[in-house]
């Protein structure tokens, strides 16, 4: 059972109270974008085996969106943070680097 702490209301909730929203920090393709940029935005995903950033909604709680950093190979949670960020904050990166020395944000995009 996956357990995450909602950074908006502070409640620690298991996954039955939450709704997954897919990969985080996906940049929307704007007007004038090429077909392959739109394809990247809509379909292409990092899908990493290791540290991963996700959108979650505290659906049966405060209802707010937030972001979580998780390891898809071990199910370890590195932390949660507000949805109003465009890239993972420093303390989350530090937590990931501690486990995975040499880890870089978006290794191959």
């Amino acid at each position: 059972m996956l357990i995450l702490t909602c950074p908006c209301c502070g409640v620690t909730a298991d996954e039955t109270e939450l709704a997954g929203g897919g990969e985080a920090h996906v940049r929307r393709a704007g007007p004038g974008a090429s077909e392959s940029e739109v394809e990247d935005y809509l379909f292409m995903r990092e899908n990493p085996r290791g540290p991963h950033f996700e959108r979650w909604r505290h659906a049966y709680g405060c209802g707010k969106w937030f972001l979580a950093a998780r390891d898809t190979a071990t199910l370890e949670v590195f932390g949660t943070y507000p949805a109003q960020t465009t890239e993972p904050p420093e303390h989350i990166r530090a937590a990931i680097t501690e486990r995975h020395p040499g880890w870089r944000w978006r290794d191959f995009s």
């Binding site: 059972m1 996956l2 996954e15 039955t16 709704a19 997954g20 897919g22 990969e23 077909e35 392959s36 739109v38 394809e39 990247d40 809509l42 379909f43 292409m44 995903r45 990092e46 899908n47 990493p48 085996r49 991963h52 996700e54 998780r70 898809t72 190979a73 071990t74 199910l75 290794d107 191959f108 995009s109």
Partner: protein, 416 residues
């Protein structure tokens, strides 16, 4: 003299000489410096690809690399259901090809895959599902796939243990494919492996791919835990780990990897001789030849590579099945496990060339790959040998950019 071909006569002969003549089903192999074709992934799809490369196109300088053991991934973790009652034409074509190949696979491979066309029933439990399945039945009749929409009375006749009245969702009818069914999943991988080995192909287990090198946009070398191996063409057929290998080759895939769980009960006397799927309430069930009830449900909502899923999904599946089959409420469950399924945006597979010349991918079968093993191998082999296959043409990965989706979210939604 050793016994290679399996038959009643061979069994009798071996019985008379203490079974000393049986040979290993496939040879142990270590990598050669170079192969014409390397297939990564010795599951059903990878082995079937290698088999049809050899059988249909005479390409036999082939290695199949496997990180773990043969058939130890989703091939050994699925609920063994075979059907072809999909909605879209390209899906019906490849799944029906596959189902048709299953009919004669045991004879062809000289290996008993225990194909059992016992019939697959997909329950309609809402008005929308009734309409959806009637539409599928009409589409199937145009596609030449034999299915029919049957009444609740006929459902009860075929499955006496079912509860038609609900309580949540009454059974309003079902989509019935009489020649769908099940097969022994391990035997499918073993049978293909034996046939590949007989053609001189190398099946190399415990050999993890650690890197993929290319020169001038053309694949040249596969780096593995057993050293570097050169190749002319490379087929990536690794289901849930497709994204990881694509990253090593330098491109991305429109795929997310999720955990899908299944479970089996203690063995009981025969009580249900068809496969029943209940998509509205999320559960499906069949009875194995050993008597165990084989049960599957839905995927988790988040990316996961751990081959174990969340308990509440099992709970949801079991709750749904107890409502549908009240007599199983006291059954004890023996085993539960998970597999990593590779989901695409339109719930249809990818059998495709890639941005790197010489690399081909066969993935995205998601929650329903087992049924497709022979057809998928057939199409992938043709694509790799000739650069084009009518069966796989619609399943190229460029379809996402071009907006040509093969939307099977209704047919494939939950149950496989």
């Amino acid at each position: 003299m050793s016994t290679r071909r399996y038959s009643a006569f061979a069994l009798a002969r071996e019985a008379l000489r203490d079974h000393l003549g049986w040979q290993r089903a496939w040879a142990k192999a270590s990598p050669k410096p170079r192969y014409d074709v390397i297939i990564v992934g010795a599951g059903g799809h990878g082995l079937a690809t290698a088999y049809y490369l050899g059988k249909n196109f005479g390409i036999r300088n082939v290695a199949v690399l496997e990180k773990g053991w043969l058939g130890g991934g989703n091939t050994g973790r699925n609920t063994t259901i075979i059907r072809s009652n999909y909605l879209q034409d390209p899906s019906a074509a490849i799944y029906e090809k596959s189902r048709a190949l299953y009919e004669t696979l045991s004879q062809e491979l000289n290996y008993n895959v225990m194909f059992s066309p016992r019939g697959v029933m997909m329950l309609a439990q809402t008005e929308h599902e009734v309409r959806g399945y009637k539409r599928t039945a009409h589409a199937n009749s145009i596609q030449g796939v034999t299915t029919e929409f049957i009444s609740p009375e006929r459902v009860k006749e075929l499955v006496p243990i079912i509860e038609l009245k609900g309580p949540r969702y009454p059974v309003l009818g079902a989509l019935w494919q009489a020649r769908g069914g099940t097969a022994r999943h391990d035997a499918v991988a073993w049978g293909y492996a034996r046939a590949c080995s007989d053609m001189g192909m190398d099946i190399i287990q415990n050999c993890e791919v650690t890197g993929i090198r290319s020169e001038g946009g053309q694949v040249t070398v596969v780096e593995t835990s057993k050293g570097e191996i050169g190749c002319g063409k490379l087929g990536l057929v690794v289901a849930g780990h497709s994204g990881v290998l694509a990253q090593k080759a330098g491109f991305r895939l429109p795929i997310e990897s999720l955990a899908l769980q299944a479970l089996v009960s203690e063995p009981i006397k025969p009580c249900m001789d068809v496969v029943v799927m209940a998509n509205t309430v999320h559960g499906y069930m069949s009875q194995s030849d050993k008597g165990e009830m084989v049960i599957g449900g839905g995927t988790d909502a988040f990316n996961n590579y751990t081959q174990r899923g969340s308990f509440h999904h099992i709970e949801e599946t079991v709750r749904a099945l107890v409502e549908t089959f009240p007599m199983i409420s006291r059954l004890k469950m023996l085993r539960q496990w998970g597999g990593i399924v590779d989901m695409t945006g339109d719930r249809s597979p990818i059998i495709s060339k890639t941005p790197v010349d010489g690399i081909f991918v066969n993935c995205g079968w998601g929650t329903g790959g087992f049924k497709a093993i022979p057809g998928s191998g057939w199409a992938m082999a043709e694509l790799m040998a000739k650069g084009h296959s009518p069966l796989s043409a619609a399943f190229g990965m460029e379809r996402f950019r071009e907006g040509r989706f093969i939307d099977e979210s209704v047919a494939a939604g939950v149950a496989h």
